[in-house]
Amino acid sequence: MTNLDTLRHVTRLFPIFLGLRLLPVGAWFLLVSLGGMDWFPGWPHLALLAAVAAIWPIHRWYQERYGTVEPERLSFGRNWALLAGVVGGYLALGLGAASGMRPLMLALLLIVLATVALFALPRSFTGDRRTTAMFLAAAGLCGLLLLIPFRDPTRLGAVGRWFSLSIGLLLCLAGWIEHYSLARAVRRLGEGDGA
């Protein structure tokens, strides 16, 4: 791959890049995986809101440090998919509690609705449908995973704790790897004067 190919590749991927923005949600899963903690009533909800809010300053930091890029096609980006997954999971929890529906069924229903919405939306909005569908499915899965520890994090079983721990570690690791890859690619391109 020449530097110009790398340059094109980095620019194409930059709008869907998440990097350290994954860390707050990952940290939330890690916190939940501690299990049995009963610091104060409703702390997981507040901690999740704080985690989502913490994404914003990280996002601003990326914008100031690396700038911004608008993708070739406006599409339902990964950032939105992640946010949709978190908010979807949160809403599903509330709906599930109100309707007495099982969280698993609710999460599956969310995925089906998201997929239907995806194909109902015009192509100009969704961009590459295959990629968007993949990230939406991942977001639905994220919502689903979120529900499991979220039901009652203070009474998580061993499986639930391991599950949350794995998801938390995976998100944190993925965030670091993405960040490191971007920083390395940009540094190399910058050193080579881009061409």
Partner: protein
């Protein structure tokens, strides 16, 4: 028919200059990018990048839009339709040149006679 190396000298220098080619290549992979992104990616100084962008804007290859994000000024750069066509053509030409250069073999020299 000109030989590939002769054609190489006929490339558009406005586009083929390394820093400008890097800027145009990055812009061809997106709709818009801001000044900071191009600065990071190309490793140019602010002054150099600014000069190259002005040259490209004067040639009608890029469009520059200045705005404020919060209280900070932000410069967005995008390829114009003409610029996009020019970059694509330039890449095609480079690809053709690469192929013809690989296939090229030097003409056989005539055997020296009288020896």
């Amino acid at each position: 028919m000109p030989e590939p190396f002769e054609e190489l000298t006929g490339l558009d220098r406005l586009i083929h200059e390394p820093a400008r080619l890097a800027i145009l290549t990055a812009l061809s992979a997106c709709r818009k990018a801001d000044f900071m992104y191009l600065l990071r990616l190309t490793g140019l100084t602010r002054g150099n990048l600014s000069t190259h962008l002005t040259k490209l804007e004067d040639a009608g290859l890029v469009g520059i839009e200045k705005r404020f994000v919060g209280r900070k000024p932000n410069t967005l750069v995008a390829l114009t339709r003409r610029g996009r066509t020019a970059v694509e053509r330039h890449w095609q030409r480079l690809e053709e040149l690469r192929r013809s250069t690989r296939a090229w073999s030097p003409p056989e020299e005539p055997e020296p006679d009288g020896r």
